[in-house]
């Protein structure tokens, strides 16, 4: 199949970017989206042009590296699918494809389609953990955890930290990312001792990073390649309110 691409090119964080058009011919429908970009890059290298920079690694939908807005949707048209797992058979011959980086002031562009998502790391560093040193632990079966709680924790913990939620949100809010971690640890008995401090600290960090706020439009959960529910955001809000009503300080 033949495609028209419109790709965001930006030399580095300090320069202005713009869109460049490319034509690609004879793309196999069995290729993944990133393999299609590999073809583009080989083509660019062949004519002495700078290849398109994009983050990618595992190419099996779990590392969370890949991050691009494809035709106005994070990770492209297929639901519950990361860019690397998106295949060209989902497109048609002659399609125009617009490819942009995640756009958020908290995710500055590094080059082309690669953005800096270390704001997410700092949110986790602020409290997205259980404070247990190596060697502290008791036997794993000492604390039975009801299966529904363990399952709910697992569903929230499936977050791959790709940032599609921020990209999809009209406010560039990181609430789904933050809430997923708070819900994951909040469903588990091990997470209780630090539950309230955690939410206060993580929300504080999230706000300091310059993300927008949540207006509950739910575009985030629709964009999430792991299907994490925005109900977790409500859980975060509840934890936050409780922490405040109990006068807990972080």
């Amino acid at each position: 199949m033949n495609l028209q691409l419109k790709v965001w090119r930006q030399q580095n964080a300090n320069t202005k970017g713009n869109f460049t058009d490319y034509t690609l011919n004879e793309i196999s429908p069995d290729m993944s989206f990133l393999e299609m970009l590999d073809v583009l890059n080989e083509q660019l290298l062949g004519c002495g042009q700078d290849p398109v920079a994009f983050d990618h690694d595992c190419r099996e939908g779990i590392c969370g590296s890949c991050s691009m807005m494809i035709n106005g949707k994070p990770h492209g048209p297929e639901n519950m699918t990361t860019t690397c797992q998106l295949h060209m058979r989902k497109f048609n011959d002659g399609d125009n494809i617009v490819i942009e980086p995640w756009r958020a002031s908290a995710f500055p562009v590094i080059k082309d389609l690669a953005v800096n998502r270390s704001a997410f790391d700092r949110i986790i560093q602020a409290g997205g953990f259980i404070s247990v040193n190596t060697g502290n632990a008791q036997d794993g079966n000492t604390l039975p955890i009801p299966k529904p709680d363990a399952d709910a924790a697992m569903d929230a913990a499936a977050c791959i930290g790709c940032g599609a939620c921020v990209a999809a949100c009209k406010n560039a809010s990181a609430m789904l990312f933050t809430a997923a971690k708070i819900a994951h640890l909040g469903y588990l008995p091990q997470g209780q001792p630090e539950r309230h401090k955690r939410v206060l600290r993580m929300v504080h960090q999230m706000d300091s990073e310059g993300f927008g706020n949540c207006t509950n439009t739910l575009d985030c959960e629709a964009a999430c390649p792991k299907g994490i529910s925005a109900d977790n955001i409500a859980k975060l809000n509840q934890d936050y309110l409780k922490a405040k009503l109990r006068g807990i300080s972080a």
Partner: protein, 637 residues
């Protein structure tokens, strides 16, 4: 090269306790005076960095990813083994030890493996405490499954994302330390060179992948936890960036590299579907619990799978290995698939594939149960292939997946360069010639959480060397070497891209040093690799500059190292004139095509010493002694 494994004396059950009691400690208030450089932030790296920081050391951790949470440990699906015996089915530390040694085809060190089995139970406890959401039974207790050919249920899992959850557990522990300021994290930072001063590892040189800046970092010890080298085959189930560079650089600085030919080919990957393909995707081995593997009996078969009658199908694993059947170990299942495809009975485009059929299981258990067990894997398969595995049997084919070889380490996980410690897949220690399913996660975390925190203290307490800073001439020299290399890549201005060289090398290695190797194929590879290398250094095309994000430049460095490493791998495969585990020499097989070990001549680890660009490396031996398990032919019939 002196290879002292430093295995403590005494009964195997007491070796680790005895060792811990004897090794030197560092006073808590002195720990902060030591700085440790950890390269890699996967299971082994992140767990080590976090645990060492908790103890009070100053830790710097480096990853070439944008965040430590992306390391390829994240992609492990199936689970993690631990000798908990929660299922009351006869498991024990000894049995896990035994299974691992036997599974590794008697090419691993008993002492290390026993310790691995011992600490396996602590890993589960630690991860549960961190909030890793392992699968639970309705009573609230931890659930287990049988995995990868084990006859007991000792595998703990978190849906099909166990690696992800364990990595995020280690990442959370690491993040806690970063937040507390005890670990300094360096992201998008690739290790380019190891710095050795007076025979001790004292630092590394890195390249900032965004700014291109070359920087030196000095420390009292260096830990490499940089994973395996399956990408020497280009197409593998490893992530795109996985590479051999850090261990190869260390090898060139004097670290012994052990058993590079021990590579694992995983039997259940989605077959390759085109020339352009960039990687292979693994389907969890757990699928073999309910799926039946078959090919048509006739090579001329061209009907659709559901039209092929039962008596025209060959369930070859069940036929050849009646007691283990579809759950035969990885190397055996992989080779059996290759065999039937070589006979022309393979299915799918190109004939390199076998069916993994769930119709019997769906009939027996219902589609709902199968969807509960494997739903996410089925979806993934459909996403990639466009075929619905509930209706059409999956097609699978073996793919390079894990490398058992790596830098040689002693019982303290220290390489032949004092101060250089190597953890996880990057070392060679525990899996011998073949790794059992669900053991990679176990080893990575064992090394990081429960071994290195003890043993590194011993090194630091006994190290008599002086502290050096990055102003030491060795650092300047290493930096200059790195700069020169990068400059060379950029100035060749040839015609071919780095990935075309990588593909060419990968294809050669897969055909000649892959699932089956022979003297002829290896000789052929050994004559061809230098030619590819020669062309690479004269005709590679790397655009742009070194002072920006430049993925082609990053790749060039990695491919250059793969080209050198591949040669050593072939030498190792050639000189190991026996078949064992994942290393299958066609000259050495039994009448029915099983691997034939030669314990007389090859019951050792081969450790290679680098002697310079133009001279052949020297092969040393570390003899393996089996005092607790009797050497036996591995049989899964």
């Amino acid at each position: 090269m002196i290879l002292d494994s430093k295995i403590p004396s005494g009964p195997i059950e007491q070796k680790w306790d005895k060792h811990r009691a004897e090794i030197k400690l560092i006073n808590p208030s002195n720990k902060r005076k030591y700085s440790i450089l950890v390269v890699g932030s996967g299971l082994a790296g992140a767990s080590a960095a976090a645990s060492l920081a908790e103890l009070g050391y100053n830790v710097d951790c480096f990853t070439f990813h944008d965040t430590p949470r992306r390391a390829h440990s994240i992609a492990a699906q199936g689970g993690i083994n631990a000798a908990k015996n929660y299922q009351n089915d006869g498991d024990s530390i000894y049995r896990l030890f035994y299974d691992t040694v036997k599974g590794g085809d008697f090419r691993a060190r008993e002492g290390n493996v026993y310790r691995l089995a011992q600490v396996s139970t602590n890993i589960i406890d630690q991860c549960v405490a961190q909030g890793v959401p392992f699968a639970r039974e309705y009573g609230g207790y931890l659930s287990n499954r049988s995995f990868g050919g084990a006859q007991v249920s000792r595998t703990f899992y978190a849906k099909g994302q166990t690696g992800q959850q364990l990595l995020l557990g280690a990442y959370s522990a690491l993040s806690r330390q970063i937040g507390a300021g005890t670990v300094t994290m360096h992201t998008r930072s690739e290790m380019m060179e190891l710095v050795v001063v007076d025979g001790h590892a004292k630092g590394i040189v890195t390249r900032d992948l965004v700014s291109g800046k070359i920087e030196s970092w000095a420390g009292d010890a260096v830990i490499l936890a940089t994973g395996g080298y399956s990408n020497v085959f280009y197409l593998s189930t490893n992530a795109m960036a996985c590479n051999v560079t850090s261990i190869w650089r260390a090898h060139k600085k004097g670290a012994g590299l052990a058993n590079p030919c021990f590579t694992q080919i995983h039997p259940t990957s989605i077959p390759q579907h085109g020339e352009y393909q960039s990687k292979l995707t693994l389907m969890s081995e757990s699928l073999r619990n309910d799926g039946r593997v078959w090919v048509p009996k006739s090579a001329t078969e061209n009907r659709a799978p559901h039209e092929i009658a039962e008596h025209d199908r060959d369930y070859y694993l069940e036929r050849k290995y009646p007691s283990f059947g579809n759950l035969s170990p990885r190397d055996i299942a992989s080779r059996a698939a290759k065999e039937v495809c070589d006979e022309g009975r393979g299915v799918g485009p190109g004939g390199r594939g076998v069916y993994l059929d769930f119709s019997a299981a769906i009939h027996r258990l219902g589609e709902k149960t199968i969807a509960e067990r494997y739903g996410n894997l089925f979806e993934m398969y459909e996403r990639i292939t466009g075929e619905n595995p509930y209706k059409v049997p999956m097609r699978i084919y073996p793919a390079p997946h894990y490398t058992m070889g790596g830098l040689w380490v002693d019982y303290n996980l220290m390489s032949t360069i004092p101060g250089l410690h190597v953890l996880g897949e990057a070392n060679f220690s525990d899996h011998g010639a073949n790794r059992l399913g669900a053991s990679a996660l176990m080893q990575g975390l064992a090394d990081g959480y429960f071994v290195i925190p003890y043993t590194i203290g011993h090194y630091l307490a006994t190290d008599t060397g002086n502290k050096v800073g990055t102003d030491h001439p060795e650092f300047k020299k290493a930096e200059a070497e790195v700069q020169a290399r990068l400059h060379t890549f950029l100035s060749i201005k040839g015609k071919r891209t780095t990935s075309s060289f990588h593909k060419e090398l990968g294809m050669l290695m897969w055909n000649n040093c892959g699932m089956a190797r022979s003297e002829a194929s290896l000789q052929q590879a050994l004559s061809r690799i230098p030619e590819i290398k020669e062309e690479f250094w004269n005709n590679v095309n790397v655009l742009g500059s070194g002072l920006e994000m430049n993925s082609a430049l990053e790749q060039a460095g990695r491919v250059a190292d793969f080209l050198e490493f591949a040669e050593l791998m072939c030498w190792d495969a050639l000189e190991r004139d026996e078949s064992c585990g994942g290393h299958f020499r066609t000259e050495h097989q039994t009448q029915d095509g099983e691997a034939k070990r030669d314990d007389q001549d090859f019951c050792h680890s081969a450790v290679w010493e680098y002697t310079g660009t133009n001279s052949k490396s020297i092969r040393h031996k570390e003899e393996l002694k089996f005092e607790n398990i009797q050497l036996a032919t591995r049989s899964y019939k």
